[in-house]
Point group: D2
Chain length 419, copies 4
Amino acid sequence: MATTAIDADTMTEQFAAVRGATEALCDPLEVEDFVVSSMPDVSPTKWHLAHTTWFFETFVLAPHLPEYRALEPRYAFLFNSYYVQAGERHCRAQRGLVTRPTVRDVFAYRSYVNDAMMTLLDRVGNDPSHPASAVITLGMHHEQQHQELLLTDIKHVLWTNPLRPAYRSDAPAPAPATAQGWIPVAEGVHDIGHDGHGFAFDNEGPRHRVYAQPAELARRLTTNAEYAAFIADGGYRQPALWLSAGFAAVQAERWSAPLYWELVDGAWHEFTLHGLRELDPQAPVTHLSHYEADAFARWSGARLPTEAEWEITAPEPSAVGRFADSGAGHPSADATDKPQQWYGDVWQWTQSAYLAYPGFRPAPGAIGEYNGKFMSDQWVLRGASCATASSHARRTYRNFFPSDARWQFTGVRLARDVA
Amino acid sequence: MATTAIDADTMTEQFAAVRGATEALCDPLEVEDFVVSSMPDVSPTKWHLAHTTWFFETFVLAPHLPEYRALEPRYAFLFNSYYVQAGERHCRAQRGLVTRPTVRDVFAYRSYVNDAMMTLLDRVGNDPSHPASAVITLGMHHEQQHQELLLTDIKHVLWTNPLRPAYRSDAPAPAPATAQGWIPVAEGVHDIGHDGHGFAFDNEGPRHRVYAQPAELARRLTTNAEYAAFIADGGYRQPALWLSAGFAAVQAERWSAPLYWELVDGAWHEFTLHGLRELDPQAPVTHLSHYEADAFARWSGARLPTEAEWEITAPEPSAVGRFADSGAGHPSADATDKPQQWYGDVWQWTQSAYLAYPGFRPAPGAIGEYNGKFMSDQWVLRGASCATASSHARRTYRNFFPSDARWQFTGVRLARDVA
Amino acid sequence: MATTAIDADTMTEQFAAVRGATEALCDPLEVEDFVVSSMPDVSPTKWHLAHTTWFFETFVLAPHLPEYRALEPRYAFLFNSYYVQAGERHCRAQRGLVTRPTVRDVFAYRSYVNDAMMTLLDRVGNDPSHPASAVITLGMHHEQQHQELLLTDIKHVLWTNPLRPAYRSDAPAPAPATAQGWIPVAEGVHDIGHDGHGFAFDNEGPRHRVYAQPAELARRLTTNAEYAAFIADGGYRQPALWLSAGFAAVQAERWSAPLYWELVDGAWHEFTLHGLRELDPQAPVTHLSHYEADAFARWSGARLPTEAEWEITAPEPSAVGRFADSGAGHPSADATDKPQQWYGDVWQWTQSAYLAYPGFRPAPGAIGEYNGKFMSDQWVLRGASCATASSHARRTYRNFFPSDARWQFTGVRLARDVA
Amino acid sequence: MATTAIDADTMTEQFAAVRGATEALCDPLEVEDFVVSSMPDVSPTKWHLAHTTWFFETFVLAPHLPEYRALEPRYAFLFNSYYVQAGERHCRAQRGLVTRPTVRDVFAYRSYVNDAMMTLLDRVGNDPSHPASAVITLGMHHEQQHQELLLTDIKHVLWTNPLRPAYRSDAPAPAPATAQGWIPVAEGVHDIGHDGHGFAFDNEGPRHRVYAQPAELARRLTTNAEYAAFIADGGYRQPALWLSAGFAAVQAERWSAPLYWELVDGAWHEFTLHGLRELDPQAPVTHLSHYEADAFARWSGARLPTEAEWEITAPEPSAVGRFADSGAGHPSADATDKPQQWYGDVWQWTQSAYLAYPGFRPAPGAIGEYNGKFMSDQWVLRGASCATASSHARRTYRNFFPSDARWQFTGVRLARDVA
């Protein structure tokens, strides 16, 4: 994992900000909402709060704060996610069945670990070479990832309830219409991947050369209106548009629209964090599986971009201005700041399988399990979504999900070959 | 459903007592505990509280209190269990995924319905022939059934948690040893079944004649020590002792002891509502499936009783004195009051399939779905358990569960043929 | 198992007749037809041929013919069905995947065992007390059971093929119409069960007393026309007519008619051993599950008989004349000989669970696994079907299948209470 | 699909040769062997024979031989594999349940279609631009693919049988030891993919540029002895060596060695087409999943090659001499002709996901379903195996299977980075 140059004062403040941001996301929730898991991919809110805390306890405090004593040693079993080398762990399928520790207990656990972290952060001070520095930074980015998951997971939990309760009561403004256009990708050898300056996850490097074919990328994301035209044209009923496994999923799961869309009196509505709302035609379509993104692109006479094409073409997040922090939870509530919607609306499926870059080596030990062991049968997504913390976005960021995942804020930027 | 002769004052008081008893069972619980379902058979506590309330709303208030207006019409969908004729209902498998209404909301729903019931009970007054009278009585017995389920379900929920939290913190006294003996069953024609005086569920009648073979029933229940001897003798590894489907279940589920038993440092312990405790050797064994009860009986050179043998032999509950009300939650905490353990310890598996008595006719309408439609692939259990309300026990009571059910307080009274 | 009084000559002839009858059933088959299993309940023809042979090898030749040497010792693993005490056995689910031994090899195995049996039968001679006598008789009855299974299984195999090939090319004559009527069952104490004279399976005894309520049994079986009226009246769409598990099966399996019925140009047809044919309205309806038989009876304002009522009322098979031997494979091809259709058309579902009679004890050893270990979650059927060997029918015969079994020749004789 | 320059005489002869080769593979089989499917990936031999015939009937004869009449129109339903645009088709899961048409019927079907093909081939004559020419060539390559599948499938069928019958009775010679070494891959821009001269499948093109990193490829394949060392070192018990989904498969499927390996008296044996044989230590390891190949490479301190590295480095098949035609069925029976084992031993897993090359366009119509629709969640394999027809191998060939496939002849050629 690349080290980071954040100095001591900043790190303490940043730690407090990240931890506080997670808890702020819970403000609209009832105690009951924290407990359940509505499908295997979804973890309870309570679990996200505790797991991110366990991460600091296990990988930061245990090795780097000698006087640290666990508040409850059995939490290590309950809140380890998938780090085999960090010990035995609770079955993922049972996360939503564990009512204790209570929500109150979990907040006390967070507070206890935060206190110990403050002690350690004092010692780390201004020294980026302190042995704890890199893993603290990693822990903060890890927690930002779980902020996004917390939102996508609670959205699914609330939707599972036939009463369809809303997470937020305010209503986003409709997205303005923007004309589509195409941005060229220059043919030839390019360097992509993270160069080691500043923080990045291990899977973003090493930086290396790739050969890009001549191509173009869409200037903006695919809209709800465009996707609704695909549906109206019978897109879900034409096997020739789909990968074989994709059409099998359409039939087995009876998909006929993106997750969260439903017809109310003949008009498309969408369940959002603001409740069930009439579809916003100019907003980016979201909650698509890779299968759907791919079929839509084929129907459009286009294709999905490769991750290299995306990275070569996209600007740095800093160049497009701040976007709303995680919790906005609605794509394109404010599209004017993001002329090309690279970050802050929806993650963009690519046609690149999630594989190791040439020369990739995971870190030794349990931390090495962070990314590398998932490099099979997944696709890379690029950009960032309306549920991503703005400080978490990077041009080299490689998000990844399997072909049929739909509960994330996932959408489409088209690409096409240039003859 | 037989009508009941309870007069108006008593019914109002009894209604308040039953409803209050349900809520008292929730006192030891945290909000989080109310939400989850730890396996398909288990309903969330919150659901039990709401479903019993829906029963009064649907079958009593809607038809009999003209001015009644539902607090929230969508609750009818969420809290109907299996009454097809009462309308569409939520999928049972999703009961544990619904976080709203909150626990607070559900208690408000109970209060709202209780208020309306008090208005109606005033009108019903002393008139047992009032059209609402019988179904109010049924609703109270229905709620008593759910009191027992609430306890068995929350026991399973707490056990599913690796932290093994206890429901109650007090500790029951060990059960005293009692010598085994045998009670004769007279050969010949007997009348069994409910005769229509006082309340009974529809499946307890009509009263009818059966022919009993000469036999004997055990004077007391099988103990933990006796069952441990079966385990020690390799009972779970000898297919010749088991029904074919029973041994298949042993292998598929890897059963090697009753549900909730575990070895701690070589000594059998049992998870109870009082937490994980060392096994009480003289207490009745419980949490056995029918398969295990049957195999144990075969190993003992005996068999399970028929339901007719049980009913012919058992005394009325009133003849054996009061037993601890539901919530005791531990078999034989006080065995001296129940010399023969007919009621108040564990339900006793019989070798009788749960079938209609000759001439049985379910009630018309949705209420007729209460019992009759479950008459396939289940066994009758007789008696009552430590989780049954004492006013709920009857000599003619027919409880029923399938062969592999283990999460109820189910045990064994042996029987044997007389040559 | 009761002994039999068949003398030596008869037994040799009978053995040859039974073994030959099994092989004659295979005459219409292609080699390919012997191999497959079209669903878990169905065994390949090849397996039936070999398993019945293994039965004689294991339970007769091995203990009683000292010089006997197995043709291929590994067949014991392949062709043991469920006799745990007879050694390890091949997984039932894989029976249809084993291409060797070939059909030719299996016939050679039969011939090899037949030769050894002839040697033994010479020694057994006229002595019914010879230790091999009873188990040889059992083996012949066992083989007759498999004759019926062979036919019902190959019928399912052929139907699974979209080409719908016929087993036989001839066409049965249509059944004549017969008016329905009712036969009284006398109230009071009756003796039922086998009395030990002549052969019976162990589950048919001991003979014992039961108390019968006043009732009536239908004079003839339910016809296809009567069942079609139930379908036309929406029988499969009315949950109130069904057991809860039955309606769940209707929905899960999308049942809308008996197995093998299909609509061709709006007219009901039925796949038979003679191929797909237009439904014969007066023939007994068959291939019903217990769930369907029970729902039909409820729709008819009647019920299924108990097994005691059936046995009290039915004549001995010898009193109704010979019926067509197994292989007829079509109910009521010749109804005139069987005025009341007790035997030789379809097995008749009862409302009696398949349980041990009072005092029942299985035989010691592996043979004791024949019947007793299946006494859970099954129903008794009485009579005999068009696929049963006529010499195999008995008034006390207890056939048994679970609630959802439909591939046997199973139908309905109605019963009703008398006030 | 690229056209081919094979002239008319050659095509007729080649057609006869391909069709004859398929049938010759069936010589050792019994009729029963043709019928079954031992797991979902495996098709019956009978089906392979008929499906390859249906391919010519549907894609060649129907459009190009006007007077052609189908022998049996219903075969189109039974023998279409996955060509949605070619009409409805039989459920893959039921292929092994269809006993008719018989094997004899299927050979008659082959003969009937062969005759019609001969008529058509006469007309196509020397004209490579004849509209039928390209699809006839495709059909021959398609049939060669099924020759390999027929062998891998029948191997699995025979292995599923506890009697473990052999396909061939002869015994291959042991493979000689060869020292390992490394071949450099030149860094920089390379062209890969088929250039359109001669036949290739659509997925092998277009030819395009890639950037290769500096690397080395192993001079020979990984041997059984090397893989056995991985097992002996606890390779299957160390999660850190595995992809997360790979280790989950190890645990779920209880993998502890390659498919077909078993310990006999402490010595590794392998089930082969020649029966169960002691493991040949110097022969290439085969029947590995991608998960196992990847874990082995990690354990070796190496990695799998990319498909570009493989194609850049491998010689043309013509440069390494003929190898044994399909049916050899045993890797390295004759290693001396193949100094580096690129072709003719085992397919070599790469670390490249099976994706479209830049600019890939599937053919229009049903033929376009041949390859493109499977481009998700699979890996590319390169080379050819001991079951591949020698005329079927190409340097640009892209075989593909999912991560857990083990029943093909799949093995490992290691690769490593050069610093």
